[in-house]
């Protein structure tokens, strides 16, 4: 057991990101900058995709780094650092979403129906049509529950593998699969006839 603890400690020590985190915590500005720049976009992007507003995404991004710093001693070296950051970010975003829901706030735009607006394959080559489709997908994603949205964002936006998503969200791969399937099905339902030509 002691050996295990020592091994885990040693592994944690070897993790360069944890080292950066530790140095940053001790006031090393360069280390902080290196770490922040390494993960800022991923964290911000997930937060933004999850919550729907830049302001909240910034809050989540900053909280995620603070949280990582506070919890680094509990970092489990069996995980990869980036999945750990994803986990922190996703959890924070989910918490934000729930709080917002409790307050009855909606960051995202009004409900939107894409019914009747078919986009053809040819139109998809057109930038405006692509943007139109992207907007419709965004609205559909925003209607997903936070848990489904998290899986969808990590897979579709971040293009993580199923095992990385499972690690990031601390759920089983089977759960990843079922949630992703539900999320995708609901998004397609929301898009409705917009996908007409393809269906």
């Amino acid at each position: 057991m002691l050996l295990g603890v020592l091994l885990m400690t040693a592994m944690a020590e070897e993790n360069p990101d944890i080292d950066l985190l530790r140095k940053a915590k001790n006031g090393d500005r360069d280390a902080f900058g290196e770490l922040f720049r390494k993960y800022e976009k991923r964290v911000f992007r997930v937060a933004r995709r999850m919550c729907g507003s830049d302001d909240e995404a910034w809050d989540i991004t900053q909280d995620a780094f603070i949280r990582a710093m506070e919890a680094m001693d509990r970092f489990d070296p069996q995980y990869r650092f980036f999945t750990w950051m994803y986990r922190i970010t996703a959890n924070l975003a989910i918490n934000y979403s729930r709080k917002r829901k409790r307050r009855g706030e909606v960051h995202f735009e009004e409900a939107y129906s894409a019914e009747g607006q078919q986009v053809t394959r040819a139109q998809l080559a057109d930038r405006a049509a692509t943007e139109q489709l992207a907007e419709a997908v965004s609205r559909a994603v925003e209607k997903l529950s936070p848990a489904l949205r998290a899986v969808f964002v990590l897979r579709v936006d971040q293009q993580l593998s199923y095992s990385e998503i499972a690690e990031s969200l601390d759920i089983a791969i089977g759960t990843v699969m079922s949630r992703l399937n539900r999320a995708r099905s609901r998004v397609r339902e929301e898009l409705g006839s917009m996908l007409g030509e393809f269906e």
Partner: protein
């Protein structure tokens, strides 16, 4: 071959298939235009969504990075003195404090005396001022560690000074002005009262915790002025955390310090960092004075200021005041939903922005009487990762 279901097609799309499964799907897609369209349309819609994202400008990232580093660094300095600083905040801002018997009382009293002596303004009592009062004896806790008790003697929403004053700080024997409402303003023009109150209210609403900001004071404080009124009236649900707004106040007082901003932190709910941020947000004079509660010290950055009886505090321009005190036990009140009252929330906010993840809803109808150091542990190391991924 029968068409594979949607999930299987998505596994193919995601590259999660291998071996025979993969070849059979590939084979099927070669001959089934319907399934091919499903896969293709999914690929297209996901790509269009993925590509439709614009990051903020790089400058904004750098600005946030810098801001965050300063915040963390400030916090880490803060944590080094956490028992102390939080204790002072608690004393000043209205967490219901219970002092362990002995030297700590003397120390805090000493700070108070020191501050009082430094305070050269002519004080008058502000409207609504409420004298300090000892905390209920029932809450005194001699032992270390957690103790919970019925919430009967403390209801969230109780107003300020009657519940927030340190036990043992007898206002009759010790000229304490640290306690809520004891220091009073001498001059704030009526129109400025409104202006400053409005500003503080905005800060209050924005930050989700309360606080009073007294601006530069010119003219006489009108009798009708109710400096703290605006801070008490944030409607339910307006705060970020959905709480009811500032409670436990009712006695904010203005102090006039020429050409500088003074913060009367005797309203419950304003953490030290927020206090100072608010100061910065308003204005500071060129002497880089920092005024927090009745603390009004002036110093250079990082300068060590000596207060009576070896009390040490540091003055950081645009940053924070740190004081030192220890052996403090705090009393934290949680309502039936597990929500802390504003004083408790302020203390927790000052320790960690993520405290809600650890202890929100954990303590329902509870009063925790707990050493400050343990509060820190509770907040920082209190639980496992939050937010079970529930659908």
């Amino acid at each position: 071959m029968k068409c594979p279901d949607f999930e299987r097609l998505m596994l193919f799309l995601d590259g999660e298939l291998s071996g025979e499964e993969l070849s059979s799907i590939e084979e099927h897609l070669d001959s089934c235009s319907s399934c091919r369209r499903v896969v293709e349309s999914q690929r297209m819609l996901e790509k269009s969504w993925r590509d439709d994202f614009a990051f903020p400008a790089t400058m904004e990232f750098r600005r946030r990075e810098d801001q965050l580093f300063r915040r963390i660094h400030r916090r880490s300095r803060w944590k080094m003195l956490v028992p102390a600083a939080a204790g002072i905040i608690a004393a000043l801002l209205g967490v219901k404090l219970i002092m362990n018997a002995g030297p700590s009382i003397d120390r805090v009293s000493a700070i108070a005396r020191s501050m009082n002596e430094d305070h050269t303004m002519e004080d008058v009592e502000a409207p609504g001022t409420d004298r300090s009062e000892a905390a209920p004896e029932e809450l005194l806790e001699e032992e270390s560690g957690f103790r919970t008790m019925s919430d009967s003697m403390h209801q969230p929403g109780m107003t300020g000074s009657t519940e927030q004053t340190a036990a043992g700080m007898d206002s009759s024997s010790t000229p304490v002005r640290t306690a809520a409402g004891e220091s009073a303003s001498r001059s704030v023009a009526a129109d400025e009262v409104e202006e400053v109150s409005q500003e503080a209210t905005e800060v209050f609403l924005e930050r989700g915790s309360g606080g009073a900001v007294a601006g530069e004071c010119v003219g006489d404080l009108p009798e009708s002025a109710e400096p703290a009124a605006s801070f008490e009236t944030a409607p339910a649900g307006e705060l970020e955390d959905g709480s009811e707004g500032l409670v436990g106040s009712g006695n904010a007082a203005y102090r006039s310090i020429e050409n500088q901003i003074s913060l009367d932190s005797d309203t419950a709910g304003l953490s030290l960092a927020e206090t100072v941020s608010s100061t910065v947000a308003v204005e500071q004079d060129d002497q880089e004075s920092i005024s927090s509660g009745i603390v009004a010290e002036t110093g250079e950055e990082g300068e060590e200021l000596q207060l009576e009886q070896a009390q040490t505090c540091f003055c950081y321009p645009d940053d924070s005041f740190y004081g030192y005190a220890e052996d403090i036990t705090v009393c934290m009140v949680f309502d039936s939903l597990g929500m802390p009252d504003s004083s408790t929330a302020a203390l927790l906010d000052s320790l960690s922005p993520c405290w809600r993840d650890y202890i929100q809803y954990e303590f329902k109808d509870t009063v925790l009487v707990i050493p400050l150091a343990d509060v820190n542990d509770l907040v920082l190391h209190g639980g496992s990762m939050p937010a079970e991924m529930m659908e």
